[in-house]
Every structure is written in structure tokens, then in C-alpha cells.
Symmetry: D3
Subunit: 238 residues, 6 copies
């Protein structure tokens, strides 16, 4: 039994609120337990200079924690040096979303994803991916509705969840207290076909075996399937 009463293979309750703000073409507030992230997708009718003329689109992502999102106030990245953890996370978000799309169907434009963490209780990077996919979906629907693009570039749904080893037991969807004591920490990004987009696993306190890896991936699949059901439900897709 876990601190918040969940079983080992149980994720936290998820809430996905679309159209949370009005300017972004996709704007989603995702809550996973006590973690809350505002994920927006804004369309920019240019591509980075190294891609001009290639007739393909691009997705960029930025991740940021608000100063008040953590127990001890987090300083803003205003000294010209983006926090290195944020850099790592936003690269992961960008890669994960790009790999779900046929970028040539997007045309020469960029969709800019922003994930701003309002409240952090573990799993902010995985919630960011899960929420940002919904915002991206809405932004692409906007392009289709306006007939700016004619074919849907989305190949599959994508969501992300954490798994880990806590007191030598594999568990799903770690909250902050669990995460900070985890022996192994793994983030998995998967599609609705149960295929992997990204696996990042780290032995924090000791290495882990192939056998343990298989248990983590089994839990992750269960969690991802549930999250993708939540995404589809929020989007009104059955």
C-alpha cells in the first residue's frame, strides 16, 4: 500500500482541461494527482532557418517551472542560463511529439509547445508530454478546420508515465516523495499501438537487471493505455 492509498500498479487520477487559455490554438491544463501543468501549442508560420525550403514542419518545446510550483521557491531562468534539468526535459518533449507526426504533412510551419508547471508533485515531464499531445492535437485540428493543411499529420497517440523501484517494489506513476527515494527511475513514452517512442531508465541507487526492466515496462504499458483513454475521452474520441 502506498502513502496515498494506491496499489503498486495504479496511476494517479488524471484531469485534462482543454481551452484553458484563449490565445494558443491548443491550451490544456493537465492534472495528475497534485501535479498541474499548463501545456499550450501555438502555430508559427515559419520554420528554423536550417529547414527552410524542405517543405516540412517542425515542433519545438519549452519546459519551465513557475517559481511557486515547488515547496522551496524556484529561481527563474533569468541569468541567461536555462536550468540544465529543464533543457533535458524540453528536448525529450520535443522529440516525443515530433515522432508522432508526419512532418511533411504539416507544411513549412512550426508548432511551439510550452509546458509551464503550475504545481509539481513528481511526474512533471511525463504529464507535460501527455498534456502537450492533446494541445498539439487541438492545434492540428485548428489547422485542418481552417483548411490550412489538408491531411492530418498525426500517425498515432502518444502519452508518457513514470515507473520505478521503490523499497525494492516496482511501482507505477511516482509522486514526489516516492521519486526522491526511488532506487530506479524510468520514464516511458509510448503510442496507442503499445510501441516505444522513448525509454529513459536510470539506476539511481543501484544498477537494475533485465528481469526488473521487464517488470517496469509491463507497468508502463498498463499506465499508458489508461492515459491514452483519458486523452481520447477529453477529445471526445471513442
Amino acid at each position: 500500500m502506498r502513502k496515498d492509498g494506491r496499489s503498486c500498479d495504479q496511476g494517479r487520477p488524471v484531469q485534462i482541461i482543454r481551452h484553458f487559455t484563449k490565445y494558443a490554438q491548443g491550451s490544456v491544463l493537465i492534472k495528475t494527482g497534485e501535479t498541474a501543468v499548463l501545456c499550450t501549442a501555438m502555430i508559427d508560420e515559419t520554420v528554423p532557418s536550417f529547414m527552410r525550403g524542405e517543405e516540412r514542419g517542425w515542433i519545438t518545446a519549452e519546459y519551465n517551472m513557475l517559481p511557486s510550483s515547488t515547496k522551496t521557491r524556484k529561481k527563474r531562468d533569468r541569468n541567461g542560463k536555462t536550468d540544465s534539468r529543464s533543457v533535458e526535459i524540453q528536448r525529450l518533449i520535443g522529440r516525443s511529439l515530433r515522432s508522432t507526426l508526419d512532418l511533411s504533412k504539416l507544411g513549412e510551419r512550426t508548432i511551439k509547445i510550452d509546458c509551464d508547471v503550475l504545481q509539481a508533485d513528481g511526474g512533471t515531464r511525463t504529464a507535460s508530454i501527455t498534456g502537450a499531445f492533446v494541445a498539439l492535437y487541438d492545434a492540428i485540428q485548428w489547422l485542418l478546420n481552417k483548411e490550412i493543411i489538408s491531411e492530418n499529420p498525426i500517425n498515432c497517440f502518444v502519452a508518457s508515465i513514470s515507473v520505478g523501484l521503490f523499497k525494492d517494489v516496482p511501482i507505477l506513476d511516482l509522486c514526489y516523495d516516492e521519486d526522491s527515494q526511488a532506487i530506479v527511475d524510468m520514464n516511458v513514452v509510448m503510442t496507442d499501438n503499445n510501441e516505444f517512442i522513448e525509454i529513459q531508465g536510470t539506476g539511481e541507487q543501484r544498477p537494475f537487471s533485465q528481469d526488473e526492466l521487464e517488470k517496469f515496462l509491463f507497468l508502463a504499458k498498463k499506465g499508458i493505455n489508461s492515459l491514452i483513454a483519458d486523452q481520447k475521452s477529453a477529445l471526445g474520441i471513442k
Copy 2:
């Protein structure tokens, strides 16, 4: 008659949601029409080095717009250079809140105010001050409830509103479309005793006369009184 149906001396509807996030001692989401700002107050048990040993507290404020808060995505301040408009605004917020307190009753600690704009439709700086005061109030109640301080340092309530000259008519509480075409733009910070904490008026398109100034201040007083009533109502004070 204004675009959104208001009369010239009518402010926008205000919503003040306390305890919006859980880590900050004060956390307020304020909505003024379509403008939404998350205002938090976090207590830090130190003071800046130049104040050590003076047995007084301090208030600092940071103001920031989320990238998705504006129609065209706003770049983050990650190049080491805080946007100059943000610098000006956060100095105003800090000064306004400090002047409502007896800092010697706060003890040697800092209350750090963060105003993060989620959605901007004019009046973000005035909404920040009005909302941040409520967050500050909650943080100070927290200190009093925990018996960390024994006397309430708050001398008065403070709120802020904009006034301006639009198509040669003085109006209250400008939305973005009005603000961007205003002939004169003025932000007023006042107390519940109808006294001024700060007046900042700018002739954007032409200078303004003493007579016009008096009309602006009359409107501002009306708006501030209404905002302070909203603050007290949110705090359950009659």
C-alpha cells in the same frame, strides 16, 4: 458605449480565487475580464544582505508573462536580459506592496511575490497588484497563525486600476484594444482610505491637462473602491 458593453466608469468583472496552488503561503488567481494572473507570496526566512541586522522585513516582486499569454507567442526571458517592461512593472508591484506594511513588524524575513500572467487582455500590472495584495494578506495571516510574528504589519488595503483617455473620453479599466489606442494611459494604486500609493500617467499621443487629470483620478477612486470590496469579500472580511 464600449466594445464589451461597459459604460465609461465601469470596471470589468473580477474573480479572486485563493489557495489556487498549494506550496505558496498565499496563492491567488485573479481574473479581471479576460486578464488572468497567478499571484503568489512565498516566505523566505532571510533578507537581502544590505538589510541584515536592521530587524525589518522586505517584499520583492517578480512579474512575468507566460509565452502563451499573448496573441503572438512571447519569448521567454532566457537570454539573461529581463524584458524591460517586466522590470518596470515588477519594481512598481514591489514598491506598492511595501508601502502598505510596517516592515519592522514583519521581522527579518522576505516575502517573495510572483505574478505570472496566464492570459493578458490589458491591465496585467494593475491586476497583479490587486491580486498580489490578497496573496500577501494570506501569507501574513499564515505567519500570524503560526505565531511567527505577533503583530499584523498591514496598515491598509491596496488595489490598482487603470484609467485613460480613449477617443477623447475618460474611461475606467482599459482592456487591451482600448489600451493600445489610448491617448492618455494612467495607472493608479490607492488605499482603502482613498489615498495614493502611486500615480503613473503618460500622455501617449498628446499631453493632458490638469482638468483631465482630475477626471482620471475621480474614475480611479470609484474603481479602486470596488476592487477593495472584492478583495475583502474574497478574504471573508466585511
Copy 3:
């Protein structure tokens, strides 16, 4: 009676030296009591990218204190972060000068104002505006003399002065010692028609009343009229 023998409604002696350096089209050393600021205006035959094609000119301003201008040496802004007080001041200078001009008569060019404080004894921002207007006037005369522009874009003269409440008495043109103890501090920017370009008033130690505000503005008008007479005398205009 004030420390330097002035009465409450008396400004400090002003000296305006034109052509202080040779490269800028306008170059003015202004001394107000012990405060000395070098104000220059240099013409740049481009406008910021967001204004291209609008057939209007622009004015930008930078404000800086030399390290030796203050009692304790002031560090240079070389760490990539302009001092926030400087940011606020240079925005004020730019706004104040722009509002005196018909920018469409200036053509697509920028006049760059630099205000470098050589010695600071209070009132550096107001002296900067008063001196920079004379430098701007000279730069515009240069454009007219060279027949680069055909119509004078200047609509009015502008000058600036501080007023404040010191030991509960309203006084004009505060020196540093007065400013650092002022109860209320206000900077006023006015035209030669006695209209306001900018009012910035702050209750430093306590809020101030409408009645006090009127006294401040009365003093400011007196001071501004005297400064504009000094500007016209330096420019040989009667």
C-alpha cells in the same frame, strides 16, 4: 530653509552647455546643482524592424551612471543585466521625448539619446529629460539645416523636475539627501503649455492625499516653467 539655503519652491541653479562633444548631432552637458549629465542625440538612418515601411521616425534612449558618479563606486552593467532602475529611467526618457514630436515628420530614421551621468546628486532622471530635449532640438535643427527633413517635427518644449514631501513640507527639485529621506517622491514631465507628459508619484513612507497631490503639481509647474526658460535661453530662443 533647506540645507543648501533654498526655499521650498526654489529649484537648483541650472547650466546647459551645448556642443560639449563633437560627434553627436546634439551634445549637451546639463548641470543642476551638483548633478551633471551628458546628454547626446545621434542620428541613425534606420528604424527598428517592427517599424519599417511605416514612414515614421523613432526615438530611443539609454541612461547610464558612470562608476565614479556616485559616492560609492557603481559597478558597470557588464554582466549582461542592465540595472533595473536604469531600465525604468530610460523608458521614461524615451517616452517623454517621443511624445513631443510628430514622428511622421522625422522620416524613417532613429534619433538615439544617451544620458550618461557624470555626477549624481539627486534628480538625474529629470535632468536627463531636460538636457536630452535640448540635444534632440539640436539634432533636429541639424536635419533641417542639411535639408534632410523639411518640416520641424517638434510640437512643444518639454522639461522635467522632481517634487516631494520632505519632513511633511512639499518641496521642489530634491537633492540626494532630501530625496533619500522623502516621504513622497514625484517626477513630473511637462510641456511649455503647462500640460503633463508624465506624472510618476510614489508614496515612499506613507500614502498621500489628493490635497497634497495638488500642492506637488503647483510646485512642479513653477519649476518646469523656469527650466523651459533655461532651455530657450541656451538655444538662443526668446
Copy 4:
């Protein structure tokens, strides 16, 4: 058959030169095919402030590519913003090395790892980990030989290698040309007990299945075992 004649499950020839420079306590030039990285370990008798008094040591790592290490000259990180790919890599190197040690046996000191890429032909991050472990080993021997520490903090050997899917075939140890066209790219960090320290796999062009994952891990194990044999041989351990 691969471009350089290797079979799919064959790594590149490895050369590990110890004592390449003289000041660092560990200094290793590692060459993996055409990739060359200088890995150094320098002892610093302090720990970061957040760890003081904990009686544990720390490992930090920095990764950098020399401007001439790539076909097109790479700009130096001198604008105050470390290249985001470098940030991600140096965090991986630090985590991987820390997890091989019992940090409490290191005492309150930091070992600073620097990985400077002299020539890049794919696999610079995995070569950095493999080489840096040898430099770390030498630095720890130095501490043991000087009797600064009494117990060896090293729990296991660690090495790293890339695997990937190239033209739909799983291959080991990708060179740059293979890496830039890989369908799936995975970096694996393992111990000499065949346990995982870190797995980072990315579907670059399409998601990958559980079955493919198993093939990648099988190849990785083979490669790691060979690299650890190379490390032991360079260190004169049988």
C-alpha cells in the same frame, strides 16, 4: 556488411591511452574508431554547498566538443548558454559514474570529470563514459595510494555503447553516418555484472516494439563486455 566492413554485432576498435596529460589525477585519451575524447578526472577537496557536512563525496562531469572536432566548425559555448545537447550529455555522464561508487567512501571531496571531444565520428557520449570511468579509476587509485582514503569506493566497472536500427537491421556501435540515418537510436550504460545503469532509447523515425528492444539490449551486452575487457586491459587488471 557495414560501410567500414564491420558485421552488425561488431564494435569499433578501441584504444585507451592513460596518463595522456600530466596535471589531472586521471587523464585518458579514448579512441573508438575515428572518435577521440580526452577524459580527465581532477580531485577538488570541496563539495557543493548543498552537500556540506554529509560526509559524502560527489562526481560532476562536463562535456564539450572542440570547435575543430566536427566537419563544420562548432561554435564555442561562450555566449553564456551551454549547448543543450552538451547539457543533456554531461548530466548522463555524471549520473552514470556516480552510480558506480559508494560516495560515502570518497569522503567530502569532488572528482571533476571533463570530457573534451577532439574528433567526433558518432558515439562521443558513450566513449566519454567508457573513457571517463578509466580516468576516475586512476584518480581513485591516486587517493588510495596517497592514503587520503582507505577503502575503494568503486562497486563495479561501467562502460557504455550505442545500438540502433539502421535500414531495419539492429546494429552495434554506430558511426556518425549510421547514427544520422538511424531509425532507432539507443545508448546503454552497463556494469561488469551485466546490469543496467542507464538505458536511453529513442524512436527517431518510428516507434519500436518490445521485440526490437530485446534485440538492442542483446547487442549492447555483447559490446559492453568487450569494452570492459578493454578497460581492464588498459588498467593492467586481469
Copy 5:
């Protein structure tokens, strides 16, 4: 005959105005022809951390050109990257002044030199050294007069001048037009004993011979002797 009527071995007229501003213990405006530099010396009762406890003083120098000091406006160093030419010059100024002093007689304090160029017409670095020495002299007199130090740390006078090869003729004290076309450019820092503190000579368009070097040094000596006479005259020393 040179453009401004000088002979080849003739320096420009020099004006040294002491006490130009009031806060710095030494404040000198030096004019060399059309070049004008404000050189100040401010006493700071600390030394850099690496020198604490050594019972020696230190001299630091900063060099900066005001934006309006050059024909085309020079951007301020506000992007966090000091102009590389300024870095080179301020290191030269610091070294030159330090070598004239017995730093142990200065006590554990720093004299901070600031050289701010108000108008640049060639020779700003040499004018900075010549003027800064006088400011340093005044600051040290101030320390002696206040009996903060008991022995004069100054071992010798120091001044600096440029020499160069212009249209194949060696000339003294180059103005900007000469400097920008010089074949060889050399800056010499010398004492009143005709000994060298620093020689920096560069073949800009071609290498130069030993014979030419001797001619340059002969001219430099002549110029330095005249400058030191100017310094002594300004200081009232015969």
C-alpha cells in the same frame, strides 16, 4: 607636415583638469588634441579574495567608450560581453599603474581606476594611462593626507604615448586618421627615468626592422618626457 600642422616628432597639446568630479578621490579630465578621457581613482577598503592576508594593495582598471565618443555610435557593453578591445586596454592600464607602486605600502585596499572616453580621436589608451596616473597620484595623496597610509607607495611617474609608421615616416602621437592608416603602430609606457614599463608594437601592414624600432623608441622618449612635465605641472610639482 601632418594634417593638423604638427611635425613628425611633435605630440598634441595636452590639458589635464584635476578634481573634474567630486566623489572620486582622484578625478582627472585629460584632453590630448581632440581625445578626451575622464580618469577617476576610487579607494575601496578591500582587496580581491585571492590577495587577502597578504598585506598588499591592488590596482584595477576599467576602460570604456561612451556611445557618443565615436563618429558612429558605439553600442554599450550590456549584452554581458565586454568588447574585446576594451578588455585588452584595461589590462594594459592596470598593469602599467601597478608597476609604478610599491603595493605593500598601499595596505590591504584596492584603488579602482575608471577611464571613460568622452571623445575619441586616437590615442585613447595612452591618454588613459597618462591621465589615470594623475588621478592615482591624487588618490594616494588623499590617503597620505588622511594618514591612512604613512609612506608614499609611488616609485616613479609613468606616462604613455603612441608612435607609428605613417606613409613610411616614423611619427609621434597619432590621431585617429593617422592611426587607421598606420603601417606600424606602437604604444609605449615609460617612467620619468626613461625606463620602459610596457612596449606593445604591431606591424599592421608589414613587419618592421630593428632599425625602425629604435627610431620609434627615440620618438616615444621625447613624447613621454613632455607628458611627464605636463603631469608634474598639473600637480604643481616642479
Copy 6:
């Protein structure tokens, strides 16, 4: 007799390894005693914007010390502020190399020199110049061989060495221990015609006389002639 057994007029053994890395058109590892510098020359088919259309080429240089190149680890220049000593040195390297070329024969392209110090034991800037010239020579041969340019722009060979006064004796080619105690320190850049490209001499502990200067230059000539012989030998030129 010197610490390492050399006589006063004897330089350290020199090793020049060409083609040390494979991407740069010129890539040289130069060792001078215990000092080792990787000097590369990479061709960039553009020139800085201020030179476009002038039909001349350009040479830029960057100098950097690896963190592990010094006894105490040297921090990387990642805070946005290049170490001021590095700035000074890279300007010297650039100037020295440019003055050996007829830049109009290079065409509108830039050769980018990088000098990365692998191990520092005094004389890194002079070794950088000596090694970088060989890398530049190779890059220019590459351009000639590919028939991208038709005429050789190199006018002369250039090398550099340090001289100094150590315990009142003039010595050649100072190692770190000698350099850190030198009374006078001088770096000389000369051609194979025994002409000067650059002389930079500094009286570190006391001024130096004309007589001493002549002794330094005599030693420098001897050292340079030997270095140029080493360069020619490495290049297979007799």
C-alpha cells in the same frame, strides 16, 4: 644553469605533429617542453559582414585552455564572459597571422584558427602562434591544391617565443615556474627575415632599460630562427 638544465639562451625541445585530427584543413599538435597546444585552421567560405564585397580574406583566432590543462582545474568560459587573458591572447594570434598574408590573394573567405591548450607549462601563447602558422600553411596548401585559390598569399614565415628577466639574467623561452617569477616578461613575434610582427614587453616587477631591451631582442632572434627551422622541417621544406 636553469631548473631543467637549459642554458640561458636555449629554447625547449619542440615537436610539431601535423594532421593530428582529420576535419580541419590544417591540424597541428605543437609541444614545447611540457606545453602542448592543438592548433587547427578551418576554412569558412564567408567573411564578416563588415568586409563583404572587399574581395579580401580574413583570419580569426580563438584561444582556450582546457579545464585539465592547468595544475588547478580551470573553469570553462560558459558564463558568457570570455576570460580576459584569453581575449588578449586570441587578438594577438589573429593579428600575428594576418600580417604574414596578402589577404587579397585569399579571396572572400575566412580561415578560423583555434588554439586549444591541452597542457600548459608557460609559453602557451607563443606556442599557439608558432603552431597555428603551420596549420594555416597546411590550410592554404589545401586551397592551392584544390585550385580554389591560384596564388599563395603567404609572404613570410612567422613564429613566436618568450624572453624575460629571471633573477636579473635575460633568458629565452620561459617555462611556467620561470614565468611566474620573471622581473620582465616579453613575447616576440618575428618573421624569417628577422623582422618584427609584434613586440609585447612588460616590466612585471620593475621597469627595464633600453640596454636590457636589446639583450631580450637578441635572444628572441636566436629562438625564432630555431623555431622557424622546426616549422620548415615539419612541413618538409628545406
